[in-house]
Structure formats: C-alpha cells, structure tokens
C-alpha cells in the first residue's frame, strides 16, 4: 500500500506559510506554500488562505501575551518568540517581533516535505529520529532563527526602497495597505521553499 509506506517514511518539516504582520496587527504579507500530502502524493497547501489567515491572526494573541510577560520580566529582547503554539500535530507557528512591532510568523508543516527531497537537507544533520514513536524530524530550539533573519533582511530591503512608505502600511489608526512589492514576495517564496531543518543560511 502506498499509504502505509508513506507512513513509515519520515517526512521532514517544511514551511507552510510565512506571514508578516504590521505594527497594528494588520496583515502585511502572507505567503502560502505547498506541502506534500502523502495520501494523494500531491503538493498543495495544507490549509486554505482563509484558514491560514485565521491561524496567523490567532498568533497575535500569543504575541500579546508574551509581550506582556516579557515586559513584566524584562526578557525577550531578541524579539525571537520561538514556538508560539502548535495548532495540532502537524502545524506549528513560530514568531518574531522586530523593534518596530512588525511581526514575522512562520507556520511550519512538520511533515510537509516529501521524504526523498528531504534526505539531502537532513543528511548532514545525521540524526534521523529513531526514538520510538517520534515521527518526522523535530525542530531544535532556535532553528527558526535563520528564517526570521532572512525575513527581516528582506523586510529591511523593502524598507530601503524609497517608494515604500511604512506609515502607509501601518498608519497610526486602522489597517494600512498590504505589501505589494513583487521582489519581497519573491524573497518570501525563496525563503519558504528553501528552508529545511538544519539549514544555516537562506
């Protein structure tokens, strides 16, 4: 059975969605990526755009909670919020907040990559999960940092564009425009597709 064999193989994680959320909690950019679906052997987004919107929006609660906790404890200076929450066994959201309140959210599909393509990415890591019951490749703490770094770099490049007005995108009141830069979208796509666990630069 194709299905049972698929079940046996570890499907390493992939990025399912990248979200950039503005200072006023307004969505600036959402990139959705295909995940491998072993049951159909197809690549397609694991959720609908609306569901991803809901998912990204739900991370805002956690940003708020954590920010409050950080403020109280004086921690969280790096802006890396790490794991925000796992929605289920498959999808987990990681977050990062810049000094200006722009939030980057990475939604990882823990089994989004087809095993064969993943072998190259994980090979050097050398640690295939062997423990009983663990499925797929897990993530180390801070493994998402490289993604956030790449996203931030892309965002900074966007900000350097003189025609990009951040105030237009996050005005003091109400939601602003979304990011329309094709280059930024392209960069997000590169990040989302290029990431595999253990990769050190994007």
């Amino acid at each position: 059975m194709c299905k049972s064999s698929a079940q046996d193989v570890d499907h390493p994680p992939s990025i399912a969605c990248l979200g950039v959320i503005g200072r006023n909690n307004n969505p600036l950019h959402i990139s959705i990526f295909n995940s491998y679906d072993p049951s159909t052997n197809l690549f397609r987004p694991v959720r609908t755009p609306l569901q991803f919107s809901l998912l990204l929006s739900s991370t805002l609660d956690i940003f708020e909670l954590r920010s409050r906790a950080h403020a109280a404890q004086g921690t969280g200076l790096t802006g890396d919020f790490g794991l925000l929450h796992a929605v289920d066994e498959k999808l987990a959201a990681y977050g990062f907040e810049t000094n200006t309140g722009v939030k980057f959210v990475v939604v990882v599909d823990m089994r989004g990559r087809r095993a064969s393509t993943a072998a190259a990415g994980v090979g050097e890591d050398g640690k295939k999960s062997s423990a009983v019951g663990t499925t797929g490749v897990g993530l180390r703490e801070g493994e998402m940092r490289v993604v956030f770094k790449a996203m931030q770099a892309a965002y900074i490049r966007l900000m350097q564009n003189p025609f990009y007005d951040p105030d237009e995108h996050s005005p003091l009141t109400g939601p602003g425009k979304k990011i329309t830069s094709r280059r930024f979208g392209e960069e997000m796509r590169k990040i989302g597709e290029g990431w595999v666990p253990g990769v050190t630069s994007l």
């Binding site: 059975m1 299905k3 049972s4 079940q7 046996d8 006023n24 909690n25 307004n26 969505p27 049951s39 755009p49 609306l50 919107s53 809901l54 998912l55 929006s57 739900s58 805002l60 609660d61 956690i62 708020e64 909670l65 409050r68 906790a69 794991l83 925000l84 929450h85 796992a86 929605v87 289920d88 066994e89 987990a92 990882v108 823990m110 640690k127 999960s129 423990a131 009983v132 019951g133 663990t134 499925t135 797929g136 490749v137 897990g138 993530l139 180390r140 703490e141 005005p171 009141t173 109400g174 939601p175 602003g176 979304k178 666990p197």
Partner: protein, 1234 residues
Amino acid sequence: MDEYPAGSLDHSVPFLLTLGTSGDPTYQSGLSAVLKEQAILIRSELPPLDSDQAHALLRYIQNRDASDLPCNGRDAPKKHRFHVKTAERSILLPPRRARLPDGIDMPSPTAVLHSPYSPLSPISPLYPDGLIGTQWIRKHQDLVPSVLLCFYTLTSDPTLATLNDNKIKTDVNNIRALLSQSGYKTRLAVVLLSDKTSASGDHVQDRLESLRRGCGIDAKSLFLVPPGDSKEELERMAENMLTTLYTASLDYYRDLGRHSRKKRGRGVAPQPTVPPTSGTSQTLSLAGWNVRYDFKSAVFAEYRQEMDVALRSYEQAYENLLSSELMEVIPSWSPRWNEARFLADVLAVRCLRCLLWNGQHSAAARRWQSHRERIADFLDRRGRGTGNYGWEAWESRWALLMANLMEKASIPELAPVTHKLYLQPEKNVMGERLQPWEFLHHTGYWYRLSAKHMQARRDFAHAIPEDDRRSPSMSPASFVAKSAFAYDTYMCPDPFEEYPLHRGGFDHGRFVVERLMKARSEFLKREQVRLAAEVSLECARELGLTEEWSGIVKLLRPLWKDLPFRSEGWTTIAELLSWNLRAAAVELDDAELVVTIDWELLNQTFQKRPNWEYDITKALDQIDTESKPIVSLADGQILPFIWTSFLFREEEGKAGQNVRSQLTIKSNAHQGSTPVSLTSLYLNFSGSLDRVVIEHDDAAAVQEKRGNTSISAVPLTRDDAEAEVTDLGATNKSVILQGAADLTLAPGQTLVFNLEIPLREPGETEAQSLVVNLDTEEFDLHHELKFHQTPKTNFWYLSGSATKRIARPNPLAIKVQPRPPKLEIKCPVWKDQYYTDEAIVLEFELTNGEDIEALAKLDATLFGENPPAFTVDIAGHESQTSSSSRSEESKLIGAPLGTIESSKTSSVQLRLPPVDRSSQYDLTLKVTYFLPTNPGTPITQTTAFQLNIVNPFEANYDLLPRVHPDPWPSLFDADGVRSAAPDDDVPLAFKGLSQSWCLLTRYASFASEPLRVVDIDVVLSSLPSVRCHAIKHNNLPSSGEGRLVAPKTIEEAAFELKAQKASLDERGPSPLDVSLVIKWSRPEVSDQLNSTTLPVPRFNLFGTEPRVLATVSHMFTPHPLVVLTVYIENASNHLLTFGLTMEPSDEFAFSGPKQTSLSLLPVQRRGVEYRLVPFDDLGGGGEVGGCWYYQKVLRVVPGGEGLGDEGGGGGLDSRTGRWRGDGKGSKGLERVMV
C-alpha cells in the same frame, strides 16, 4: 473516557470497605448476575452502628476518598489515598474460583478451578484466549477491598461489657474465617466506638487487649474512638487510623504484585480448566499471559503509587501486546482484535497517566502521539485502515482522552493564570529535536483536535454508501456480511447506526460543538481571544448544520461586534464572521443585524460572493419584521463602503461670511451592486457651525459629471424651525442648513458637493462626522462616518478630473475670525495740519454698512503730550467733554450714539480748544455696536487719526534805533525836567529821556496752505517807569479783510516805538518785552479769527553809554543834496568829548567840519550837520570819518531811514544820490578825551 468501560481507565486507588455502619451510597456488590450466585457473602451478625459518632467518623472517611483527587505526584505524598465504599452488615465478594457452567463437567477431579476473570474459566468472557478485561480491573477497584474496616461499639456498661465484647470477638472471627475461606488476602481492621460514658483507662486497655487477642488481629488493626470527643479529635483519630490502614493496604497490593510477578516468572502458560471446544480452540499464548501478568503488576504498582514501576510494567505489557506474537497474529475479524486494541488503549492511557504523574509532559505528548502512530500503522497494515469513520472516531476519542487525563492531572504550570499555552520540555529531552506538538499544549488544543477528528468522522460517515446505511434486517444477507468486515467499528456503531438511511444516527454535531465549546472556554481563559474566535466560527458552522441559529448569533455576535478583525485589516475573517452571522440572523428574523451586515458587505474590500444580489433595499426580503427597524451605526462599528471626506477651502474665515467647502462621498461597493439611493446626509461640525442637511432630490442639477465623479453645487438655505429629529449626532442646534442634491451612489462613484457654509460665530470649527441616512420602506439606516485627517483626503475637486491638493495641516477645520465691522468712521475734511491758537473742530461721519440697524457707542481717546480736553457733540445728544486720567491721555468713554439705521450716517463733532503749542496727538475713535440679531456680540470698529498741530507762523525781529525828534530835556530847565510829585489822581508825567526805535519784523507762514492774515500787532510791556507805545506800519489792506499769505513767503511789518522814561534822573537801561500778535484766519472760514502770538526776544532800551546816530535827508532840487546829521547822545553823568572826522572822498563833496571835536555835557545831545553832494553818477559812497571816545571808535548808528545799518560810516550812492549805509572803508568819527 466515557466510552471506555467504566473503571477501565481510572486511576487505581487502594480500596477500603467499611462494614457496620450505614453510609450514604448503599452498598452495591457490582457483581454480574452469574457471579452473584457464586459470590462469597461476608456478614456481620451484630446490628449496624447508628450513633452520631459512628456516622461522623464514616462521613469523614468518605470525605477523604481520593478517587477524584488530581493524579499527580507533585504534591507532598499523601499520607493515604483510599477509594472508600461502605456496607451496612454484609458484603459480597466475587468467587475466587468460578464454577464450571452447567453442562460442562469437570474433566478430571484434579482439574483446577480458576477465577471467573481469568481466561481459564469457561464462564469468563475471555475464555479461552482473551487477554485481560475491564472486569479484572473493576474487581480490584470496586469489589475486593484491600482493607475491610469493621465498626463495633465498645459498651461501657460493665454489666454488658463482657457479653458485647464476646459478641464482637465472635463476629470478627466469623468474618475473618469467611475472608480466609474466600481466598482473598483482604486486611481486616476493627474500629471500636465507645458509647457514652467513658470507662476507666486501664479497664478499657484490658478489654482492648482481650478483644485483640480474641479476634486474632494485631494492634495496628484495632482502633478505639474514645467517647464524646470533639470533632477535631475524631478527625485526628480518623486520620491516624487511615494512615495506619494505608500501610496495611499497600502491603496487600504488594503481596498481590509479588504474586503476579511470581506467576510470570514461572514462564508457562497455564491451561484452562476445560480445554476449549468452540472457535479456534486456541488458548492464550505465553506472551499473552506475560502481558496479563505485566498488566497486573503494573496495576498493583499503581495502587501502591509506585508510578515508575507501574510505567515500566505497562510499557512492557504494551510492547509485548503490540509485538508480532500477539496483536499481529490476531485476525482482524476476531472480537479479540478489538479487545487487544482496547487493551493497548488502556495501557497507553495508563502509561500517559504515569508520565503525567511524574511530570514528564513532553514524554507524555510523545507517548500519546506514538500510540496513535502505532495503532494507525497497525490498522493500515492489519486492519481496516485509517481512512474510515471508525478511525476518526478513535482519533477524536484519543485526543479527548488526553485532555481528560491532563485535566485529571491538573498541571499547575498550565493553569490559566500562568497564561502559558504549552509547557517547556523536561530537562532530559531539552536538547533533542522535538516536534512542536511535543511541547504539551493546554487542553483547549486537545479538545479542538478531538472536535476536528469528530468532524472528519462525520465526513467519512456521510460518505458511507446507502446500501451500508440500511438496517441489516432490511438488507440482503450478503451485504450484511460484506459490510461487517468493511468497517472498523471499534468502539463506534455500525454504519447503519452511525449514519442510518432514514433516521438520525450518531449526533456528531453535538459532540463537535461540545468539544469546541470546551476548547473555546480554555482559550478564553488564557486570553486567546482570536483563537477562541476561530473556534467559535467552527462551532457556528457546526450549529449551522443543525440549524441552531440563536446559538450562532449568541456565539458570533460579540465577536463580530468587538473583535478587532476589521480594524486590523483581517477582512477575510471579518467577512467569514459576517456571512455566518447573516445566515443565522435571517433565520431569526433579526432585521437590524441583517441590514447592518448587508450594508457592510457591500464594501468591495470583501470578496464578492458569486450569485449574490447586492442590493441593500432587498436586505429584508426574506425577513418578517413586526415594526420597521431602525439601524444606527456608529463610526468604526463596521467597515463602511462609503468613504467620505470634507475640506474647507480656506484656512480662515470671518463670521458672517460664507466659506467654501467640499464634501466628497465615494462608494467602494462591489461592482455590479445596485446603486444606493441615500435619503439624506447630515454633516455635523464641532464649534458653532450649523448642521448641514443634504436631502436627496432626483431632479437636482449636477454641475459636472465626468467618469465616475460628479460635482454639484448645493445651495444651502437656513431652516430655523426644524427641530431635532434624529438620535444620531444629536446636538441642540436648532439651525439647520438645508440643501438638496442627487444622492444616488453607484458603485465606484464619487459625489462631490460644493457647499457655501455661512460662518456664524468666531472660534475654531471642525467638521466631525457625516451621518448617512438610508430610509427605505422596510428599514431606516443611519450610519455615522467620522472624518479622518489623512494626506490622501486633502484633495479639492476642481473638476471631475482635476484635483488640487490642499496643503494645510488640517483642512477639516476652519478658524472663524470675529465678524468684521461694517460701520465706517470717516472724517470727510481731515487736514494734514491744524494750527496752534486755532479752535479745532473735527467732523466725523459714522456710516452703518450693516444690513440692519446698529446700536452704537463711541469711545474717543486723544493721546499725546498734555492733550487738551475735548468736547464731543453728537446730534440729538448732549455734548460730552473728555476727562484725562493721565497726563498723556484724554478720553471720553461710552458716548451714546443711539441707533444708526442701516446705510445711514450719523455725524459726530469733536471740538478741541485752541492749542498754544505745536504738538502731535493720536486720536482714536472706537465705535462699539450691537446688532439686534445678535445682541450678545459686540462689534467694534476702531479708527485712528493723527492730529498734527503746528505753529502757522514764525518771525524774526530787528530793533533799529531812530533819532527821536523831540529835543532832549535840558538839565537846566527845571520845570521840564522835574516830574510832579506822585499823586494818585494825576497820571505820572513822563519827563525823562525819550528814544525812538523801529521794530522790524519778518514773519513767514509755515502753514501748508495760504492763510489770511488780518492784522499784525505788537504787545509791549515794559517797566512802569518807562512809557512806550508803538505805531504799526504794515502792508495789510486797511479794509480789515486781511491778505492771503502764501506758505513759505516772508512778509515784513515794522513798528515804530517811542519810549520815554518817567524821570530824567533815571537813565539806566530798561528792558522791553514785546510780543508779536498775528491775527489770521483760514481763508475758507473768515469769520473765525485766530490770533497767534509770537514772543519777541527781550530788548533793552536806554542806557548811559553814549551813542552816535546818523540821519540823512535828501534834497533833490536844485541839486541832489544829502544832508547827513550825526547825533551824539551822552546820557551819562559825565562831560564827554568826542572827536569826529569826516574822511574826504572822491565820490562826493561835503561841507561841514572835516575834523572836529565835540564836548557834550551830561545828558545832552548834539547834532553835527554835513551836506553832501555826490560827484557823479558813477561815484561810490562817501564816508563819514569816525568818532572817538576814550580811544574807542564809536559806531555811527543809523538813526533814521536811508542809512545803512552797518554803522561806523556810510556812503552815498552816486547813482541814486542816496546815502548808502556801507561802513566799509569809511572812517569813523573820533572823539578824543581832553
């Protein structure tokens, strides 16, 4: 956990059974009917205790029941944990050895009978090859106590004591005998409750000892409750008792555990009492037995709360169970297959509980997942796969189980107050690659997962083909046979029950909603409002399927209203909420909600729904309304599809004027939606501006239309009468400006209204909001839109295609300056200069330029150096005179002007008295007036004038000596000299020296215009001892009408002065003060004569110094002849001699002494006469030698007309024959003192 058989998953807690008192839940043996027959009855013969004390003790023990305590080992180890049951007098224990069922004979007398729960006993459901069942778990949990605690009364009555004690002994021995007969190792304990009166200590001790021995129980199992003790004492005693019993109880379970291990250690599979004859005749394999023994040891370890031991045993059992020897070989059609699955679940749950107990949260999450994976894998390989409703049912149950376990374990780190969503992994797995899900998330996530699988289960169920959904009684047998193997029905109904064809089957929705609501409440507890909203949406979808509309509205309406999805730009989410809510609202006939949602969904920010008719007027087509709903929307409540902006053209305006402004509304409605015909627009301002109301009028003219933009000018009319009617933006302004325009707004269209808004009161005014009103037959909608200041809105439509940016910081606001005064102050005949010594009359005209009459007052201020007091004359009012409070100010305040009619003029006359110095004043006139339309607001007009007052004339003066014609009095003439004695009646007779002078004045007009000089005069003032008078000689016409003197021309006037001293004795110098008085008038006002007095420097007359004066007289016939007379005056008291020389000259001939000396007596004047004849016409002037006096040359002063004023000599003008007063070259007359 409900779906699992009762007790199968429960935490194992030592079982304590009390006997001898009636407790609240009456004793239920819990044995099945079959076993009840064979059950062992243990019965106490003594009556049950009914004392309060006994009840209190029992209640306390029951309250300490630990079955429901949190399953965690974190809290300080409890002294005891008991599951407590009570029985009154008798209990039933399951038979230790099950009888063979009827019809089966003992195969051999040596055959061993086994426990009814063992697969060895034919009556057991496990017979012959089952593993272990729930019954076994329940046997230890509910049926066979670890400790049997018997209650007895210790009678204090000495007469009955022994009897009772013996009864107790008998009873206990009886019970113990029964127990040991049963084969159970249940510990027996006795508690004695003393009755009322207390016995002496020793006696009681003896009795207890005797009882203990008599009953054959050890000291630790015998307890005495002293009588009448306080509650605390009782509780303390009970606590001690339970702790002691707990040790005994743990012993009991340890023995049992040891027994299981011993059996496992034997390593042989026991044979059943009767070899199986039915089925496969297969008996339980050794591996199966090992699982069974491991499970038992684990459970006993759990009883002892040795969770590590338990976990190891459970894991071992689990691994063995799933090994190739056991589950792999069970055929999936066999009932044992599901039993094995069930056992695997139970083992996994118990493992999870052990992990949670030990605080290994990540390990628990991982264990949870691994069980799921293994079962899925197992089903995929050996079973019916995971793509069916049965699997999803299990998945849902499995997630729910985890949530329940976590709840039971009550992990404090995940309590809502911590606001933690998940736990950090334990230290030992910290560095590993972890799945995010292995961070143990709080139960909300698990409930949600469970709900999700429940939904998946339903999806699978709905995909069951109809044939399978038919009841088997109605289906052909072949179908039944087929479907029996096609569906995984582990712990879930058959397909014809799951989703029957013609009736309701399993209610998935109910479970989904229930779990989602649980999840939602967990999320809400941790302030995950957005995630809770997402869950609510899922919930609403579920409720929608079951048409529980009010539930949806209740759930979604707060989210729709309060959550910031809209304001934060998550439009897709807001849209989803709206559509869901609308669907429910339509069903509930909530017209208000439907209208609001439809109104918002017109916004094309939202996705257009295909095949949806976007027409707001038809919103309520499917809805029955009792009354016409009125929907009022505040700003920010929804995302409006109407975008509006407002601009004032100017930054400032003045009250009373109109200001140009532009109102723009733009529709962002979906393309293709029906144009909205607004009923009216209310434009509200802060400050003093009136509300502007624009009503819809189809016929209103559009000024310009280009593309989607149409511009129209809306003339506004005032409507004072209209009272406030709407509730939105209610102000108490009663004045409304009304206009009409076409308010039909098609999608994408922009309507621009040019408004001329009259400004009323000064101050800052800002456009605040626009209320859009849509009144249809079915509903009224009022939507308030606030104006927001963004750079994008600052565009002024010049035409349909051209806009102009208004580069002002806030074009929504206008500064209204006070109303400009329209009353003018004018002075028609204002002159640049006014003159001193002139009474100045200033005429002012006040012209009322207002539309209506004005009640006015005048303030006048004259400011300068010592301003004169002035008088103001106002027609019809009394004159008023100014007062001066300070030296530099003279003012008049509040002179009433009365009412000035519109466009009428009132005149004011301001009179100043003549000013004697040239000066400058500032004259300020301030008119304050009120209009009857606005009596509270004073309007002020101020005009300032500069008043220049100058001297019209200036003059210089020469005082020339003349020879007085009268002879000097002689000292020798006594009469002529001596003055009469002073007498009052007779005026003083002047008999002193006389002198004659000529005062020559040259005056010039410094006026800016010709002035009419009417008269010139001098005013003399001298000492009383001198008499003096003047005779004027000027060129003014004698008629008295004067002469116009042009500015800047010099005019001359001469005065002949005659002065005489009163007495000859007095000849010293005497001053004379003269002032020149010019009488003049302005040529246009001849009747007003002003006189300007010019002070002349002081002159000195007389003196004792001698002086020489010369006079000439001409004679022209027959020859030109000049007679020069030189007078020498000696006013001193000395005799003086003067030398006099006449220089000969080429120009004239003379007769007279050429050189002579003259002696003058004191007070004498003598004259020497020369006759001069000029030689020719060309000759220059002659010269008159000089006059000496004390070696000093005296100047010869001209003493009359025709002499040069240089003195010291003179000459004759040969051409004219006149004497020329040119002293140059002439020689002075010399006088030598003798």
